[in-house]
Symmetry: C2
């Protein structure tokens, strides 16, 4: 039995990001969320599939830049609404646009469009667990098990249990140093912040008004481009009261680097991931990916080799975050067509 | 004062080779001799420039497959003659075609079209030194100083001095094992065989008749394709008497691998060779070459990275001879368009 439409959760898929960490695959014109990184469809299409259960979820709302409109319509069948940001202003103002378009009592599930979640059913279970608190005015985050001392993520500290599998969130820490991250993992009270949130539209706007009045004012006055560019984490989560966290083991990865893509991809007997036309000859532990040219990797170890029709990247897997140095160098040379 | 035309040496440039050691740069349709590997012009054009001194050399004769005719005419200005092989039969029959087209007393300088020689003047000096013996019926080879225990080359053993800087060649050894090559280098009596020969056309045909009668018969009867495919080294040099060697320090390289190309190319402060659109970021000792796509190499060491519009090769420099494994794998998959 479906819930009445007004009671369904409205998925708000944030599709405005650009990002350079997967260059040369990700480009200004085809950002990460539009890429098929796993062979199962674009990250955006997979995100939409995650909220396809119409008993629980209403048709999704996508917030994005205007240049992605056609691609989004093609990749999200049954799109509820497409909200175009006049300019990129990070997540806090983008979510505000969706909240303003909804009724104050509508519950929104905010989702990044460029993450991987292996356990789709787990998403529904976690949302159901979080829903009573969200209806009650809490902002609920979802905590991913911190599997390693990752310094590039945000962490949420769990406090007292509020309900079965739901905890008060007592602190947000963005990108801790290595020692702090290590202590978080060892302590077992911190989860990774996956950027997934459940809350009433009204709750969000009230929190925004209280903690980020400049954003609230710009967005509610129709002056979106005057808004500061701030993440929801910085503008709201780190300051709001009544924030909860639902730990959710749902096979999450942000695929924030080629190293992470290698980690989540299926490997051959030598630990290589070969996607697209490629040959791994006496190669081990490599990520070999081509969108066109034949890639022959011979006798190399633990390398990322990514080829597109106009650019090739070769970098040790463990240094794959250095991709941004190539992007910066191309930018400095004015080679914008490659970005 | 120029020598009378009849007395000039006729360069015979052998342009029939295919080869796979520089894949994906070298292809069936654009073999190594047609590539600009050094930034100075194609290997063929550089070969023709080596014999451009019209006081010493007549216009060059090129022997090649029919599919290369247009490219050869474009790259060899002042071409004396283009002799097309009906089918590839290695060097001994190819040289016979040129010898038959000449007068018996004409002196031929046989040259591979895909080697590098840095000292062009040294070529003329060596030929002048060799010329009296060639006119006298000797086959004169040119010995390149054996700089390392290379097992992929042929070696010529020097015997008694016949004239100033000219020695009897007492033995040819093709591709010795490592211990033998090491002994050759240590002994100092062996030179590398660069495949460059000076001899009267008649001398060559007589030697061919004596030592490789099946080739002689096929070629002289106009049945070229019936000829065995044999190199001049195997068919003639290893068996002929009156063979001389002129040691010549002329900066020779056969550029038989990407390792060899790296060796002869100009490097940046980190030992990288970057040819074409490429970025070396924290990379050391790499050969980065692109005929199209931007190549970004980050944090890698001693790699060969070669990109063309339809293929990319990544292999450690020291293993660059393994390129043939990629070629074999592509052949096995029927991907002939990439070969």
């Amino acid at each position: 039995m479906n819930a009445p439409p007004s009671k369904r959760v409205i998925p708000v898929i944030l599709c405005g990001g650009a990002g350079t960490r997967l260059w040369p695959l990700s480009r200004a014109a085809s950002p990460k969320q539009m890429l098929d990184l796993t062979g199962g469809g674009s990250m955006l299409a997979l995100t939409a599939e995650r909220v396809a259960d119409r008993a629980l979820f209403a048709a999704p709302v996508v917030v994005a830049g205007a240049d992605q409109a056609a691609a989004i319509e093609a990749q999200v069948p049954g799109l509820g609404a497409l909200i175009l940001e006049p300019a990129p202003r990070n997540t806090a103002p983008a979510i505000a646009l969706a909240a303003l378009a909804a009724d104050a009592d509508d519950v929104l599930l905010v989702l990044p469009s460029d993450h991987l979640i292996a356990d789709v059913e787990g998403v529904g279970d976690a949302v159901r667990r979080a829903l009573p608190l969200a209806r009650d005015g809490w902002i609920v985050t979802f905590g991913m098990k911190a599997e390693r001392a990752e310094t590039g993520y945000g962490y949420i500290e769990r406090g007292a249990a509020l309900a079965d599998g739901v905890f008060a969130a007592v602190r947000f820490v963005e990108k801790p140093d290595a020692a702090t991250a290590q202590a978080f993992v060892a302590g077992g009270r911190h989860d990774w912040n996956a950027g997934i949130f459940l809350m009433r539209a009204g709750t969000y706007l009230e929190a925004l008004e209280a903690h980020a009045p400049r954003i609230f004012e710009a967005v509610t006055k129709g002056a979106f481009t005057d808004s500061p560019a701030q993440s929801i984490d910085y503008a709201v989560m780190e300051k709001a009261e009544r924030v909860a966290v639902v730990p959710a083991a749902i096979g999450w990865s942000d695929i924030g680097s080629f190293e992470a893509l290698h980690l989540v991809s299926e490997k051959d007997g030598d630990g290589n991931v070969v996607a697209g036309p490629g040959l791994a000859i006496g190669a081990h532990g490599c990520l070999i990916r081509s969108d066109g040219p034949m890639v022959a990797a011979i006798g190399v170890e633990d390398l990322v080799i990514v080829a597109t029709k106009d650019a090739v990247l070769v970098v040790p897997r463990a240094e794959s975050q250095r991709v941004k140095e190539a992007v910066e160098a191309l930018k400095a040379r004015g080679l914008d067509a490659l970005l």
